[in-house]
């Protein structure tokens, strides 16, 4: 084999091994604290993560419906950018109002 093809193979193998090492490093470094998280959620009994706290219908998204965004004022539609990321909960059954999911 020529020099250049050896270099090429070397680069490919190096990249693949960097990837494998990185994956191993990250999986070892990340502590898996699922039991603590489950304990916390069973204590609090509230759904959804505390990532997006700008609006109540984003913070507890699973307990709100498509109409929760209107509860403050109809003019506040799509006020927060995070409503473009998270989809409104499709929880329209058992809701005492007539809504069709968009």
């Amino acid at each position: 084999m020529n020099n250049k093809s050896k270099i090429t193979l070397g680069i490919l193998i190096a990249l693949i091994s960097i990837l494998v090492l990185e994956v191993i490093y990250i999986s070892v470094k990340k502590k898996n604290s699922i039991s603590q998280k489950n304990e916390f959620v069973s204590l609090l009994q509230l759904p959804d993560l505390a990532i997006c706290t700008e609006a109540t219908y984003l913070r507890h998204r699973s307990m709100s419906t498509t109409a929760s965004i209107f509860k403050d004022d109809p003019l506040l539609l799509e006020y927060f950018p995070a409503t473009f990321t998270y989809k409104a909960s499709s929880l329209t059954k058992n809701t005492p109002q007539q809504i069709t999911t968009p």
């Binding site: 994956v23 604290s33 603590q36 009994q45 759904p47 998270y86």
Partner: protein, 386 residues
């Protein structure tokens, strides 16, 4: 393969440009998918701890407080193990412009010595349970400390008076994604802070022993109390599954832009070869290369370029999301929230995303390179050199 490498180095700038574009595209797409899948994984890993049934009162499309008398009616339904009224809500801290989620639970004092030991870091000072006390999330602690509230906090009640509550402890940082903005205190304190009277609760949580009976009991509660919304654990699971809509919003914008960029590069590659490249192929054929050899060389050339771009993109993406906590991309998921959590996402080795990005980019680029080369390789040699 040597010839392929030489060809790449001969067109150094063009190769580097295509490499950078592909690496950036793959990096961006895989990062967004990693973040969204990690969030979904985090949600799914805690869904079993959620209550079986939650009952909310809805009036005029808005959630209202529910009367505690309703709890007795619910307890009479067969299959219901327990029904507990909860007091929780949001407290807006004006100085910092943040919303705290405030939750009041019964028997707070008993709780804090037993089951909370695992998830609460005790504070340094020793404020016992003589006065009202609370346990806060790390984000709350940070905000309060920035506003000079180190050991206690003054809630402003609806009647304008202040209520001082001592900070007893902080939730463990391992639970930060769930507990960052949470304040946990005794139910009585929560009622005072929200100005609710003793006969009102925010919603009711129903415990059902047999999982299979949940939907039946939920429909019974709905018949019994027509002005309520009944949410089951199954509804939470469905809601978690549908949290990201890849056909609208930010994701749609991202995919359209990425697809557009990708196809511009592909179109440029596949819209025929330049006369220089055609002559190159003609010369190779003249010195004895067969069509197969030419195609093999073109395959190596495009495979090396696209596969290296793919590997680089994925490596950078892993480092960006899981080691660097996705500095700019996380703003898409965090939004305007003033109360920022550390974006320590759980590690999910998402094989689906990796294979999707591999098979969408590498074979398409190889095909876009080989097909025009095959076309010009099958033309007569002397025509091409002329």
């Amino acid at each position: 393969m040597e010839y392929a490498m030489n060809a790449l180095f001969r067109q150094k700038y063009k190769s580097i440009f295509i490499l950078i574009i592909f690496t950036s595209l793959i990096f961006l797409l895989t990062s967004v998918f990693f973040i969204s899948n990690a969030i979904k994984y985090e949600l799914h890993s805690t869904v079993e701890s959620l209550p079986e049934i939650t009952v909310q009162k809805i009036q005029a499309g808005r959630q209202q407080n529910i009367n505690v008398n309703v709890i007795e009616k619910i307890l009479e339904i067969a299959g219901v193990q327990d029904a507990v009224g909860r007091v929780w809500g949001y407290y807006y801290f004006q100085n910092a412009g943040v919303n705290f989620s405030v939750m009041g639970i019964d028997e707070f004092e008993n709780q804090s010595t037993q089951s909370l030991e695992n998830i609460v870091q005790k504070s340094d000072f020793d404020k016992a349970m003589e006065n009202d006390s609370m346990i806060v999330g790390e984000g709350v602690k940070r905000i309060l400390q920035d506003n000079y509230y180190k050991e206690y906090f003054n809630f402003i009640k609806p009647n304008g008076t202040l209520k001082q509550v001592n900070i007893q402890g902080t939730f463990s940082s391992n639970t930060q994604l769930e507990s960052n903005d949470v304040i946990l205190l005794a139910k009585q304190t929560a009622l005072e802070i929200f100005g609710m009277n003793e006969e009102e609760v925010t919603d009711i949580v129903v415990k059902v022993a047999n999982e299979k009976e949940i939907s039946m009991i939920a429909s019974k509660i709905k018949l019994l109390l027509p002005d309520t919304r009944v949410i089951t654990k199954e509804d939470f699971k469905v809601s978690y599954k549908n949290i990201f809509d890849y056909k609208s919003g930010v994701f749609l914008a991202l995919f359209i832009v990425a697809l557009f960029t990708f196809f511009i590069v592909i179109y440029d590659k596949s819209s025929g070869l330049s006369s220089e490249e055609k002559r190159e192929i003609g010369i190779l054929k003249a010195i004895g290369w067969t069509v197969d050899d030419v195609l093999k060389e073109k395959f190596y050339e495009s495979f090396i370029l696209s596969f290296v771009a793919y590997l680089l993109g994925v490596i950078l993406s892993f480092a960006f999301v899981y080691i660097g906590q996705a500095p700019i991309l996380r703003e898409i998921f965090v939004g305007y929230s003033q109360l920022k959590t550390s974006f320590e996402l759980p590690f999910v080795f998402d094989v689906q995303t990796l294979f999707l990005s591999l098979f969408l980019t590498v074979p398409v680029y190889i095909a876009a390179t080989i097909i025009p080369s095959w076309k010009s390789a099958t033309i007569e040699t002397d025509e091409v050199i002329r």
